[in-house]
Amino acid sequence: MNELLAYTFVQRGLIGAAIIGASCSLIGVFVVLKGMSYIGSGIAHGCLAGVALAFLMGWNPLLLSMISALIMVVLIELLNRNSQLKMDTSIGVMFSFALALAVLFIGMLKKYTPEIMTYLFGNLLRVTTQDLWVMGTVSLLVILVIFLFFKELQFSTFDAEKAELSGIPSGLISLMLSILMALTIVVSLQAVGELLVLALIILPASTALQLTTSLKKMIWISMILGIFASLSGLIAAFYLDAPSGSTIVMLLGVAFFTAIFFKKIKNNHLSRMERVKNIEKI
């Protein structure tokens, strides 16, 4: 383990894993509770189109993926508001369009570009110091916004219409959440990849939801799980010589199914106790 930590690229990878694990799992709590997972999928595909265009034109991939993710958020929102389509249909339309653009741009690349594979599957060990600064800044922003507007986020997630009536702009809160999710996806893309970033957002929060009945505890469990799985997944990837995105998500998947299993056992036990109580009453 010590010899592993001697490599600076491993140190950078571990710091990156902890930062991404924390921010993805934090934003994931509200994404899961608000049922916004599919928007995340749309944003990730939008990012890929941006990255592909950046490689085609020789521009900065991070900047282009950020712009394309934000365009995706705005277009999904506009399409949803101005058509009578359901939200999932609006996302589906934009999702397919963005993916088609990404495939078109990749097809137009004249030379073989292996870097683009990093954006598809991710590689935490290729994270640079500059990447760490960007990840850290976005993560701090996500944590700060969620801490400052916790009350408003909580109410508009529980009941958007009632929150709106009481003076909390639920539409704006939802847009803010989409933008934060877009930024988180963009900075996580190179580390875990377009295909797995959504898992890092959804799985820790979904697991935490099985284990608690308090929103604050859900946030803590989700973040601890996100950080732990990202760090141990990266170490496992190093020893197994496997892609880190895959090992991280596999660990989170195991945690999720274990939580479901224990919840089921606990519920069965409680309902058995309830039946025994009822029989005793009779």
Binding site: L33, L148, F149, K151, E152, Q154, F155, T157, F158, D159, E161, K162, A163, E164, L165, S166, G167, I168, L209, T212, T213, S214, L215, K217, M218
Partner: protein, 272 residues
């Protein structure tokens, strides 16, 4: 008029709390309700009935400003527009049960506290006296002993009473409820109706309640509003719940019986 005075003025002499004149509202391309005129006095319990799609929920949402496509005039205490954010947040509103995510990870007291967030304000923390208000609201609906329990562990009727407490915590003088007894068993229905009767009679809260079950509210309501788009009747239960009026919206198979001095509605083939 200072809206804070209104909140504290539950014991003021009876006066018009809400009036609608020539209100027409609906969604793009379709007006669900047209030319509604009505006046509600402080302290009244008003039942809103009508077939599916008759505009009951649209009316409540229109009063609260949730429907933009609206003409006519609404007045709260003769002067204020209830659609203005400063005024509407003083009206308690309980939406249809399906609107709430009742598996949301929150304790009962936290759910009720959400009703105070607009008073607490952006970037401000919850204080001890806010929790006292939450306890008071929970005791009004008889749920104070459940404060520390997770919302999802409660029965349907108990959850609905918590949602009513959330609407009450900001101390409203007007409470509007959209089918609060739908999707709960008959024992829970009775609990909710008893809570509403207490709020109306002892706490002097004016109540507007949508329901499909006319018989459950007929003995509680001072007034009934029967809606069906362009058609509407408004008056005491005995005035509105007549066979002639009901059959215009529910069809010919409606039958009205007198039961302990209250109208009792039956549907089917009966011979008078």
């Amino acid at each position: 008029m200072n809206t804070n005075t209104l909140r504290e003025g539950k014991n003021l002499p009876e006066q018009e709390i809400l009036s609608l004149s020539g209100v027409t509202l609906g969604y793009p391309g379709v007006f669900t309700l047209s030319q509604i005129n009505l006046s509600i006095t402080q302290g009244e319990f008003v039942g809103i009935i009508g077939p599916n799609g008759s505009g009951k929920s649209t009316l409540l949402k229109g009063i609260l400003g949730l429907i933009k496509n609206m003409y006519g005039e609404t007045k709260y205490f003769k002067q204020l527009d209830p659609r203005k954010p400063q005024v509407r947040k003083q009206i308690g509103y309980v939406p249809q049960k399906s609107k709430n995510d009742l598996t949301f990870p929150a304790l009962v007291k936290e759910v009720v506290m959400m009703g105070l967030y607009s008073q607490i304000g952006w970037l401000h923390q919850v204080q001890k006296f806010h929790w006292e208000k939450v306890n008071n609201a929970l005791s009004l609906v008889g749920m104070e002993q459940f404060a520390e329990r997770p919302l999802k562990d409660l029965s349907g009727g108990q959850q609905q009473r918590v949602i009513i407490a959330q609407a009450l915590v900001a101390n409203p003088v007007l409470l509007m409820l959209d089918e609060p007894t739908a999707a709960v068993d008959i024992a829970a229905q009775q609990e909710i109706l008893e809570t509403l009767t207490y709020l109306n009679q002892k706490e002097k809260i004016t109540i507007l309640m949508i329901t499909h079950d006319i018989n459950e509210i007929v003995h509680l309501c001072h007034k009934i509003l029967l809606l069906d788009g362009k058609i509407y009747f408004y008056g005491t239960p005995n005035e509105v719940l007549t066979k002639e009026k009901l059959k215009t919206v529910y069809g010919e198979r409606i039958f009205v019986q007198s039961h302990h001095g209250h109208p009792h509605i039956l549907v089917g083939d009966f011979y008078e």
